[in-house]
Subunit: 343 residues, 2 copies
Amino acid sequence: MKKSTIQDVAEQAGVSKGTVSAVINGKATVKASTREHVREVMKAMNFRPKGQARNLKGRQIERTVGIIIRELDNPFYTALATGIKKYANEKGYVEFIASSEADQQNEETISQLFASKDVKGAIIAPVINENIEIEHLFRLKLLNYPFVLLKEVQGIHANVVSINNLEATKLAVRYLMETGHTDIIHFAGPELSSHAHERINGFRQAFSESTQIFSDSMLVPCGSQFQDGFETGIDFFKRVDPKRFPMAVVCFNDVIALGLSSALHQLKIDVPNQVSIVGNDDIEIAKHWSPALTTVHTPLHELGMKAAEVLIRHIEADQILPVENHVLDSELKIRETTLDLTK
Amino acid sequence: MKKSTIQDVAEQAGVSKGTVSAVINGKATVKASTREHVREVMKAMNFRPKGQARNLKGRQIERTVGIIIRELDNPFYTALATGIKKYANEKGYVEFIASSEADQQNEETISQLFASKDVKGAIIAPVINENIEIEHLFRLKLLNYPFVLLKEVQGIHANVVSINNLEATKLAVRYLMETGHTDIIHFAGPELSSHAHERINGFRQAFSESTQIFSDSMLVPCGSQFQDGFETGIDFFKRVDPKRFPMAVVCFNDVIALGLSSALHQLKIDVPNQVSIVGNDDIEIAKHWSPALTTVHTPLHELGMKAAEVLIRHIEADQILPVENHVLDSELKIRETTLDLTK
DNA sequence: AAACTTATTTGAACCGTTTTAATCAATACA
DNA sequence: TGTATTGATTAAAACGGTTCAAATAAGTTT
């Protein structure tokens, strides 16, 4: 069954397209009785005017940006989106958020939808996995569609605004070393996550830049959810000889760090006196947790603002601007889950 | 400066519109050299084909729904959106999320944008305040645009899927009464929030349905953020005579309940032995908190799923369907922050 | 070199609205 | 009664692309 058009309505109602259009747009020129009649026909036919056609005529001055995040229920992304929003709103833009749920195909679909709906530009947290597909990004480039990636993607020359994950983890490890820790391990993130890999590399690299020696046994596979941190924490520490304390755990993210904290509490292992914990991200709850979590603050807000700034500049430029690449630095927030052994 | 069109590009490149179109769409029929040349002209002119015009021809089978939430960085809404997403994705829909930041004007702008971009329908968490504006909702109705409200709005007959806030709070109070509490107070939400009012009413009503007497002094203005709960908690309990214990606090939401928990911890007041706490919403962190928070579980997931189900049914119907109204019930989750005095 | 093929390109029709000048009808004015 | 005036409606021209049959160009075969 074909969708009805304004033409169909006009015929059915015995008036011209122009009149129907006037009714749709609430123009005062149409006679009350005609308006009523046309409205009834519209209802009867369940006629929904096509927005795309409506916008065609007359310049559209509307300002919109799209954001493609990877997970909806991850505070990491909502914090990021909040940063984007702040800058974008100041400039009069509305933003639409969509989540790829870490699926390449979804990312592609969404990016094409943004372009096809004349959302003016997009900020994309790209899905990264083994055989990464970037054809859709090339398609955007072909359309001169402005976009900013939140992570470098091999094979495409595009705007990037990103976090220095490597440096972030090095910051954590370096601090622990400086405060006298000699037994440092890493609760690592998901196998597939490139963030996780970068953080593992940061961990390694911190050792190679120090006098301490790295060993593979320092890497404990964990995950990214609270439950992962909790379970891995129980599993690991229930067979650790208390004589080994004090030791320190650098966690892939705050959420598993909190899970670990919870596990240690249950095992009656004292934080930070027996085990020091460092998180990563500095999510909202981290500073409210008891004990407050020492963590590497990821400047999500700044990341979002910067990405929005770059995007909007590119959207509004008359000419195609040169590609930009910005890397933001993290900052260590020392709270209550780390012990300074030099004191 | 007028935006360039495919026509401009064609003239500049010395080819026809059809050829430019073929280049844009990567058709194989165009000669390599021509393609290159046209691409260069496109770049030089920073030509961005208008998506709306591209879609005009050829049936669009695309499936999209929009969600208007009130706050981006509120897990309440992301949980809700996750529920919507689950159902919508199953049905092959992509969703776009936008936040009104509790601003009436934004809600209006966003809803019109959704309609104008042919997003097939919308789920709206409406902004409610003193002089509520619903003209934009009428405009949607005129367009036969399918939408579902997540809260009843006076003056408009539309689809609604909502939570029974009144009943939720009554559940909490009733439980406390049944377990022997006789000193129950309420940390109330923001002045302007209609949720907050409903919950206050629920609190009141629970008393009127019991033998205990309600008094205005039981209502403590608080807010909705962690910090609000913390500060109000300190302020209130630092001047409570310990002889008054045991007492119980029903909180507007989980976030302030956690803030209160934190405050009591700092004041060395024991939860639940001296003070029982009941939250509302059952956010993710509530069950991981120490002590785990007793709270009223708001079925956000179900709410989202139901709203999506109703919306998609209305989107896909040939005829205009009758308006629906669904109210979902909450459920009490008894954890560690409440003491049963009858035991 | 004529006759076929195949590779490119063109031009006109079309998509579903809005817009506006023009028409028609009804009423008011002189 | 003829002439403005006002009110409603219409018809045709946009809007900015896509599509596709037809035209043209380029290569191949005899």
